[in-house]
Amino acid sequence: MIPANLPIDFHAIAPQLVMAGTLFLVLIVDLFLPNDRKHASMPVAFLGATGALIASLTLIGADRATFGGSFVVDDFTVLFDVFFSLAAMTILALSYRYVRDGRTFQGEYYFLLLCSFLGAMTMGGSRDLLMLFISLELVSAPAFLLSGLRKSDPRSNEAALKFFLISVLSTAVMLYGMSLIYGVTGTTRLAGISRALAGPEAHSNLALAAVLFVVAGFAFKVSAFPFQFWAPDTYEGAPVPVAAYLSVASKAAGFVGLLQLMFAGFLPVAHFWAPIFALLSLFTMFMGNLVALQQRQVVRMLAYSSIAQAGYMLLPFALAGSSASVNRAAFSSVVLYILIYAAMNLGTFAIVIGMSRESPSVLITDFSGLGRRFPAIAVAMATFLVSLAGIPPTAGFWGKFFIFTAAIDRGGIGTWLAGAMVLNSVISLVYYLAIVRAMWLDPITEPVRPIRLPALVTVVAMVAMVWVLLIGVFPDLAAHFPPFTVLAAGP
């Protein structure tokens, strides 16, 4: 369609360029830093992420395309560029103390983290199978290394290896699916695929199988059932900030890719894949919540919790294809949920990272008496947990609310899925409250020792708490974000 020799629109990819420049800079800076000052690469990385944020902000309202239309900048792209820049800044802030105390591969850590974020940032604009694939791999590959960064710990090695093997397998399946789609539709561009699938190809079994394969690849990325079992082991073994990264940014990137794929590319065959997502969603949320009930270790519990949350985010996909207004509602509800989930989950992980300095394995019992030891942090933690359970007046409630609204608007299967999700919210409350109970309700046996958290961690937790409560009371602030752009309107 568009000749490939068009000049590259550098403004459109400015955030990604800044990010890419920064990560090389980090690598070089690290080379020249003396061993005891390696932690200084964090501010460099942080400034770079801030630069990427500013670059993304300059693109607000833009409608650009480059690389012959494979990379598009619209409201959706800008929203997630901003989102991932902010997430990068947050994760960097949370990592600082943790990585510095660990004294291992600090420069490499920040380099790999930014690499992975670069992948996440290219995801939002990818309107082409190849671009999506590259983005997804750019997110995943550094993450394998990050999970295995605690080289001396066998669990960290296990985390990385498991993550790597399952990822490679699912990538292979996905790539196969993509090649089949190219074979059937003759294009890798999402818009073109959509056009082709709307035609007679819609009922070709090959096309449907291809869609299924691609979905499987992304299901791994967002840790959906039955591709979820790497998540708990990987989260547990990886450094805690990496677990935070995986559960928030990497998962969000998976969903961003999935949204574009399903709503921009495969929408014409929604009648085929929507029921698959209904099953995926149901199994994922039930499995995540029921297993989370039995966890004693906080990071593992949060891993299962994030699987369950992925189940909630998969639900709107099951609603697609019934009408344009339902499509729009479903699409927006996922976007909104990602934004809200990121804030509350990052907040939770911030506190867990802070607690892990005192007790590296972070059991639920380690939270005992936190209500006396550091009341502000305990209140923040309780806010995040209540928000994750979806109780007003917190942001998490609105995340769920808009999914419910889309589901009930859909009617039929949507109503039943909403019912299942409602049940799951109640189940999830049990294990979220387990931490709340430890913080306040459990009798304190030993004298109260104040606990100190790294300043950056405290700041992140407080900002996240304010955000979660602010959105909880004035959801209008967030309701404007989800743009159901040209992207999802389809051809």
Partner: protein, 507 residues
């Protein structure tokens, strides 16, 4: 005056929340500051409430003191609040009871103390409860409704008695379970309404002009029924209540029994009946049967209790059964009776929980057998107050408990439902329930207040009612007497609004 009209309700609802925030952030070395702040802010909210009583137009049936500001444009949810004859008595009850709890807490706090946290939660709870009664937007209603869960969870879980953790989580899970289905019902109302709206007033208008299809109504009613029935609680959804009420600290029990339960009954009257009239007609006999089972079951359960607090907790199930029976008749008399019953039960049972708290503080037991009787001799004033309130709870004519029960039974004689024979049968069973109620109340009074002081307690120094207790209790005791003598104080307020509301059900 217009400024006052628009701000009064918002002030009454959010003053306590502001107080809660202030208590939480103001550093205080001594324990006095939070108590004073709680007193000031709940007192100010009550003052606003009392001032509203004078500005309220009792002749009008519509909503007054309304505010309708935009809130969530994406779903057309608004900050729409207002009060009418139905919600005003319950709002005033909330403000009064919360203030009296603040008075009581000025001196008496449950172990492990920590007044800042306790009072901040109590005020937050007040905002949630008051907001529920004035919200005219389903989403706003839901947010206030859920706002009470977290403070009450902590109140039971931290300050409760021995089995508190179990009771706290049970309370939270049960209520959440009901209310999430209620939320789905609300969303379904939004989706089915044209134009889409969460506004209760607009939905009521739509119901009058073009009601939802019957099947849709039945399904939505099922969802919101679950939410309200758990809260009321209606048999067989009541099992969280005895645990929560028994384990909660005194103030928690007072607010639970006095106000929280009323949110469920109010929800039926405000939302379920007017918006889903056809479904209400279908569901009414079912609700009436469950309500009557609750009455009889609770009375029998009370006869079997050995723990005084648990006994009163079960008696709440029975009293709310009368309320629900009144609502299920769908008649003006029945709903008036229900609102009166809720107000009366709020004062009487709230008062009983206060007294049990004070008895426990003195005797360190709630077991009727261990109390051993003779309270009228040992602590005559406390014994008298307890006997007085218990008799009011029994429904003695001349005291507040009488009107709610008797009007509810009357209304079952002439329900607006076509199942007249059923309702009249239920009336008979309800009557048997009142006899059983009289039985367990009198037996309890006999075992606790009358008789001689047991040998072990003769020399035990036990203080009679203290000054702070009198301060908290006298308004309630007076209320029991005044409402019993002049029931028009409530029914006069409610009747016009109720008559309008029940017009659709008149055959």
């Amino acid at each position: 005056m217009s400024g006052w009209d628009t701000w009064a309700l918002t002030l009454a609802v959010f003053l306590p929340a502001a107080g809660a925030v202030l208590i939480a952030v103001v550093p205080s070395k001594d324990d006095r500051t939070p108590r004073v702040l709680a007193l000031v802010f709940s007192g100010a909210a009550l003052a606003v409430g009392i001032a509203m009583l004078f500005g309220f137009d009792y002749g009008a049936a519509g909503f007054q003191f309304t505010v309708n500001a935009s809130w969530i444009s994406a779903i057309h949810a608004t900050y729409h609040i207002g009060t009418d004859g139905i919600s005003l008595p319950l709002l005033e009850l909330t403000l009064l009871l919360s203030f009296l709890c603040a008075v009581y807490s000025y001196r008496i706090l449950p172990s492990p103390g920590r007044p800042r946290a306790f009072l901040a939660l109590m005020l937050l709870l007040e905002t949630g409860m008051a907001g529920t009664f004035v919200a005219l937007d389903l989403i706003l209603f839901f947010v206030f409704w859920e706002l009470v869960l977290v403070p009450m969870y902590f109140m039971i879980g931290v300050w409760g008695s021995s089995n508190r953790q179990y009771a706290a989580i049970k309370f939270f899970l049960y209520t959440l379970f009901g209310s999430v289905f209620m939320l789905l019902g609300f969303i379904a109302m939004y989706v089915k309404s044209l134009p889409h709206t969460f506004d209760i007033v607009a939905l009521q208008h739509q119901a009058a002009v073009a009601p939802f299809a019957r099947n849709v109504q039945l399904l939505i009613f099922a969802g919101i029924f679950l939410g309200f029935a758990v809260k009321v609680p209606l048999w067989p959804f009541h099992t969280w209540l005895p645990d929560a009420h028994t384990e909660a600290p005194t103030v928690g029990s007072v607010l639970l029994a006095g106000i929280l339960l009323k949110m469920g009954g109010y929800g039926f009257i405000r939302i379920a009946l007017p918006i889903l009239p056809d479904a209400a007609k279908v569901w009414a006999p079912i609700i009436a049967i469950l309500a009557t089972i609750a009455i009889v079951y609770a009375a029998l359960a009370c006869l079997a209790q050995s723990d005084l607090k648990r006994l009163i907790a079960f008696s709440s199930v029975g009293h709310m059964g009368f309320v629900m029976l009144g609502i299920a008749t769908l008649s003006a008399v029945g709903i008036n009776a229900a609102i009166f019953g809720m107000v009366a039960h709020g004062i009487i049972t709230g008062m009983l929980f206060f007294e049990i708290g004070s008895i426990y503080d003195r005797y360190h037991t709630r077991q009727i057998a261990e109390l051993g009787g003779g309270m009228l001799l040992k602590v005559p004033l406390l014994g008298f107050v307890f006997a007085f309130t218990a008799i009011a709870s029994m429904g003695l004519p001349g005291l507040a408990g009488f009107w709610g029960e008797v009007l509810s039974l009357f209304s079952a004689y002439a329900p607006a439902s076509e199942h007249i024979a059923l309702f009249r049968t239920l009336m008979v069973f309800g009557g048997i329930g009142t006899i059983l109620t009289a039985g367990y109340i009198l037996w309890t009074i006999q075992r606790v207040a009358m008789g001689t002081v047991p040998q072990a307690r003769v020399d035990e120094p036990v203080a009679d009612v203290t000054r702070i207790e009198w301060l908290a209790w006298v308004p309630m005791l007076a209320g029991i007497l005044i409402l019993g003598l002049i029931p028009r104080l409530v029914t006069g307020v409610t009747n016009d609004a109720v008559t309008v509301l029940t017009r659709v059900f008149i055959r």
